[in-house]
């Protein structure tokens, strides 16, 4: 409660009825304002808006220009100066004020009836306005421009101690008198009328119908709700008016390419359905760039929306794969914990390797860490790369052991065994014996498993290259076996 209602209404009118501002400026900035043709209009505007000091100031200019009306001017000026208004300081009680006002009103009445202002119609009109004469005030329709200005002026000069609940009694009649049957109320008028009557639901309803988006009603309702001024009737699905409107507004934001992020915050503040609405909407944000996808992900992760996280990662992985960015696709599928996709991409990597003889995205594969376990194929990819690394670092026994394990522990898919055995060749051809006897036997068994009793056998027999490879392997394995038997059978030192 920041001061008497009337003062706040006057402030409101001064802020919102500004059609007259340019006229006021024009007159005030002219050389001799009192000679300006709009001079009296401006004085009237000041009086109608209760801007007494400014009115008196202008009038004084007129008085000095026209000494003959000095007497009249002094009286009017005095009346305006003395007019009792509700004050912010609360130094007087309401009864005191009303009494003072009554006396002042009677004094004005006397001067008018005595014909004091009879020779100057402008001043007489001002006196009538001071007396709250409705007709006199209505004559200045064009200067007030709206019925609610008329309402406030009327209150100022007939009932300055008005209380909020009394407004509704003056509102409708003010509108009717002002429009005078010539025009009909516009939507804004209806909204204001409902506001004067403190019919909050009506205000919200009217605004919802007239305004082109939910911004205003959503925020207004939210404020009213926070002040506990809105008695929410429970909408049949259990939510309330505030949430209903916020959901509508936020949903609208989601169709905007960047404002959707604001929508997220709004949904966060809707305790009943906000989360599920967010889940449904956030999946529809076009993931046009990686940046955007990461933004969406961050939002989902913060709110533990695991399904949505998985979905976004899968979509990005698929996109990357379509554009042949295998590394990116792999890291997205790992993030999505999508084993099937990881397997698919690992296969592509391995296929690439077979075709080109080298790996792409080495960094990624080398640093897979525990996520390697997401899928068997991925594990194989990681381990296979490790084998190459060990070989590159000349840690041959370790490399050999790993290579063998890949086959015996069935980490490697059967389709890849031939490649692995071929990789073993250089190890078998080394000057130093690397594979132990047992390991060599294992290798031989692997080779036999691969070529004998295997439907793939046909392929090997038809393909010359394959047959040659197999023969070379058999030879190398046999030679290695021979060397290792001797080595292992030799007693140290002899």
């Amino acid at each position: 409660t920041a001061g008497p209602l009337l003062l706040r209404l006057l402030d409101w009118v001064r802020l919102h009825v500004c059609d007259v501002d340019s006229m006021v400026r024009e007159v005030l900035s002219s050389e001799t304002p009192s000679k300006h043709k709009l001079f009296w209009n401006v004085v009237d505007v000041f009086v109608l808006q209760g801007r007494m000091d400014e009115a008196r100031h202008l009038l004084s200019k007129e008085a000095s220009a026209n000494p003959t009306s000095m007497n009249m001017y002094k009286i009017l000026d005095d009346l305006m100066k003395k007019m009792p208004v509700p004050s912010l300081g609360n130094t007087q009680t309401l009864t005191e004020l009303e009494l003072k006002w009554q006396h002042w009103h009677e004094e004005c009445q006397r001067y008018l009836q005595d014909g004091t202002f009879a020779s100057n119609p402008h001043m007489e009109s001002i006196c009538k306005i001071l007396l709250g004469d409705e007709d006199a005030i209505l004559e200045k329709k064009e200067l007030m421009t709206t019925w609610y200005h008329f309402l406030v002026t009327r209150l100022l000069y007939s009932h300055p101690t008005v209380k909020p609940m009394e407004l509704q009694f003056y509102a409708q009649s003010s509108m009717d008198l002002f429009l005078g049957g010539e025009s009909s109320p516009e939507p804004l008028d209806m909204i204001l009328m409902a506001a004067f009557e403190f019919e909050m639901h009506q205000v919200i309803k009217e605004c919802s119908i007239v305004l082109s988006n939910w911004w205003f009603v959503a925020h207004l309702t939210d404020l009213l709700d926070h002040c506990k001024l809105l008695q929410s009737h429970n909408l049949y699905f259990g939510s309330n008016m505030r949430e209903f409107l916020l959901l509508e507004y936020a949903s609208g934001l989601f169709s905007h390419h960047s404002l959707w992020q604001l929508g997220v915050d709004y949904f966060d503040h809707c305790p009943e359905y906000g989360r599920v609405y967010l889940e449904l909407h956030i999946e529809r944000i076009p993931l046009s760039t990686e940046q955007k996808a990461l933004k969406v992900l961050r939002i989902c992760e913060q709110r533990q929306m695991h399904e949505q996280v998985r979905s976004v990662c899968k979509i990005m992985a698929m996109k990357a794969l379509r554009n042949n960015r295998l590394g990116s696709a792999l890291s997205w599928s790992i993030r999505a914990k999508d084993a099937a996709f990881a397997t698919l991409i690992s296969d592509r990597f391995l296929k690439d390797y077979c075709e080109r003889g080298c790996f792409s995205d080495l960094d990624l594969i080398d640093n897979l860490g525990p996520s390697m376990l997401l899928s068997d194929r991925l594990t194989f990819l990681g381990k296979y790369r490790e084998f190459h690394r060990l070989y590159g670092e000349k840690r041959f026994p370790e490399a050999a052991r790993l290579l063998l394990t890949l086959m015996t522990a069935h980490i490697a898919p059967c389709s890849f065994w031939m490649t692995l055995l071929t990789d073993a060749l250089p190890l078998l051809e080394q000057k130093e014996v690397i594979f132990s006897a047992e390991q060599t036997y294992e290798l031989m068994r692997c080779l036999e498993d691969l070529t004998a009793g295997n439907p793939e056998k046909q392929k090997f027999q038809d393909d010359d290259v394959e047959t040659t490879k197999v023969e070379m392997l058999r030879l190398a394995l046999a030679r290695n076996l021979a060397r290792v038997i001797i080595k292992e059978g030799t007693v140290e030192g002899s």
Partner: protein, 320 residues
Amino acid sequence: QVSVINTVDTSHEDMIHDAQMDYYGTRLATCSSDRSVKIFDVRNGGQILIADLRGHEGPVWQVAWAHPMYGNILASCSYDRKVIIWKEENGTWEKTYEYTGHDSSVNSVCWAPHDYGLILACGSSDGAISLLSYTGDGQWEVKKISNAHTIGCNAVSWAPAVVPGSLIEQPSGQKPNYIKRFASGGCDNLVKIWKEEDGQWKEEQKLEAHSDWVRDVAWAPSIGLPTSTIASCSQDGRVFIWTCDDASGNSWSPKLLHKFNDVVWHVSWSITANILAVSGGDNKVTLWKESVDGLWACISDVNKGQGGVSAVTDGQQNEQ
């Protein structure tokens, strides 16, 4: 208030039977009696033709976009008894699969929720409904429900992959046990609900209210409330909203949305299921919203174009 955002001139040479926005509202797929399927980029109010897909030998009745996690995939069905699945690979759209298992016109296609995998339901004038499931490596497995509707099936629509009531009861965090369901509408004036049990599809419910062929069915997206909702529209000019309040899906009750003066061709829900779009032979698209007291009110009328409007999709429309 609702307003028209954009008009797309597709240059189709004959009637357009369906128009569907993709998941993000960035692309529009249209299909026509001129046997073609066209894809447009409609971002920022533009309309750039991305692809003109030829492959059908008769009018194409419907198109459906798959979930983006499977890539850019579009299904189309036609009078030529075929269902074609198109895929974008390396920037170009190509036919990736063709299904010819129906004996007459295939009238409707609908992709299942992505949680179930890549599954397409197809309804045909031969009365059967086929379910095509992608099993990997370009292979599709087919399950057929014969005699789903006598005379013919005109529409299929999947139930969302949400366990009814999950909004109220906190989910346990593990992957829930979904029961796959979809609704179909047919020339027997019925709407049927199908449920998968032990790998087999069984008719779970028969919803009777229409007095003429059911032209479209649309199962509303769910926000986890215990209520399930289906919209159906028919040659008889009526649109019904069916609701089922219990999780077991046993009792469905219809509410008449409106009786139109002409056949109603299509119904379609918005993302959060609070708006239903209806289009019909009366040349209008209307949007309907449920008010606080459970009654449906029309929130807008859009009158556009010459000739009947036969398809509508809610996609990414601004709901204001």
